[in-house]
Symmetry: C2
Subunit: 267 residues, 2 copies
């Protein structure tokens, strides 16, 4: 229902990353799986999360299955962080400190080819094969034997964008190293600074703690959320975070943030 | 989230009746239980439904429990329909024909006392004990020995209102007897008449079939819903039902219908 509300087509989802088995992080999965089944999905769905999620899926199947598509489950090992990659991105799992086994996920784009300049293709008369070579960094030799340096034909690729999702977790200074330099970091900020003790007891973070991770990691932008419903006006949490790390935004379910494409520097 | 949207306080819920274990009828329960737990509920919650729901609750507790309140589960026997009563209402379960064990529920108000007429209390000078007697149907004897007939003191009680909830089920003519004369009947109407075969295959009903049950049962009003998402405009289903039973209304989640209080006839 939430996906529909936000205009997202569930059929386009192929990989689902579950952080941990608390209701607010996993109950929506059951309805989504049943909806995908009703829609007649045939292609497999990949599911990542704590090992107990696999058992839970067995119970789901027992009462609500079978599903008309394959459910492929993988669980990160506690010490092995890599979890998934395709030709464009890789995903690593980051163990978190919470009341039950929990993982954050770091999504990184892979190396991108050089961008061949359209005007130069026309000017020098590059064929398709020449463009492919130029993308790989090769020079172009004209029919008259003139060598055109690759640097005249191409722009450096866009940088490899990265996004880290960290929820739920106690304040863990070691996380900064794990998410160093990401473009976009989501970090839970369940509590305000005045409820710091409660955060420690429940293994959650304060807004200022989330901002501390972001500042120490040197990220481009921090998104905070997962605010406790005890705060009528979460704007105060955003303010507390901004005192530590100014590039902070408080977010709600369904908010969308684009990571701008930036040219890498020519090496 | 839905309860909140409709302005309903989940803490006021004490009894939950689950029809069957298909996702669209039970997945919301998990989030509700966790929310009640988060709210610090202490009083027990009564849960009614197919026996397998009890197992499902065990799995819920294993991964998401323990809850700070007691969950009291009862399951209707296939041949024993009575399931719950208090001083004001009784609830009976009605076995349905669906792809998994399913029950409808019939809610009936219990006998109500006579309504003592306020003006007559003052006119004849009835004390509190006299009012209680009059409510039970007794006459009143004045200090001077005059006997005032109960029929002069009271109005007949309001009739005992009744509501039946029937979802999901194949068309089952026997249901009319089970819901005879209820004030309000909700009956699922998943399909239009042109998809009658599909209704039979999936053990669901068409709008006209729901209306047939209502007409044969002589109910006051029929609510139909649970429309398949294949129908962009469910108004057609309402029209099909009204051709069979005119007092039909198509409904959506969160719609509210009051059953008007009517005086019983003096016996």
């Amino acid at each position: 229902m939430r996906l529909k509300k936000f205009g997202l087509n569930p059929a386009r989802i192929h990989h689902i990353f579950i952080s941990h088995l608390h209701g607010d992080h996993v109950f929506g999965l059951f309805g989504l799986l049943s909806t995908l089944g009703m829609m007649g999905r045939k292609v497999p769905l990949h599911l990542y999360g704590p090992r107990a999620l696999s058992e839970l899926m067995d119970y789901y199947s027992r009462y609500f299955g079978p599903l008309p598509f394959e459910l492929i489950f993988a669980s990160p090992a506690e010490n092995e962080e890599f979890i998934y990659e395709n030709d464009r991105i890789s995903v690593t799992a980051i163990p978190l400190k919470h009341r039950t086994q929990a993982f954050g996920y770091l999504f990184r784009e892979k190396s991108k080819p050089l961008n061949v300049i359209k005007e130069q293709i026309e000017f020098f008369g590059l064929g398709l094969a020449d463009v492919v070579k130029a993308k790989r960094g090769e020079d172009f030799v004209t029919d008259s034997g003139e060598r055109i340096a690759n640097s005249r034909l191409t722009l450096p690729p866009y940088h490899k964008r990265s996004y880290a999702y960290i929820s739920d977790t106690a304040f863990d200074p070691g996380l900064s190293e794990k998410v160093r330099g990401v473009d976009l970091l989501f970090h839970e900020a369940t509590f305000a600074e005045k409820d710091k003790k409660l955060a420690a007891q429940t293994l959650h973070s304060t807004a200022a703690q989330a901002a501390t991770i972001a500042r120490n990691a040197g990220v481009q932008k921090l998104l905070i959320g997962h605010f406790s419903t005890r705060y009528k006006d979460p704007i105060r949490l955003e303010e507390e975070a901004r005192e530590v790390f100014s590039h902070t935004i408080g977010v709600n379910d369904g908010d969308v943030y684009s990571v701008p494409l930036r040219r890498q520097k020519r090496e």
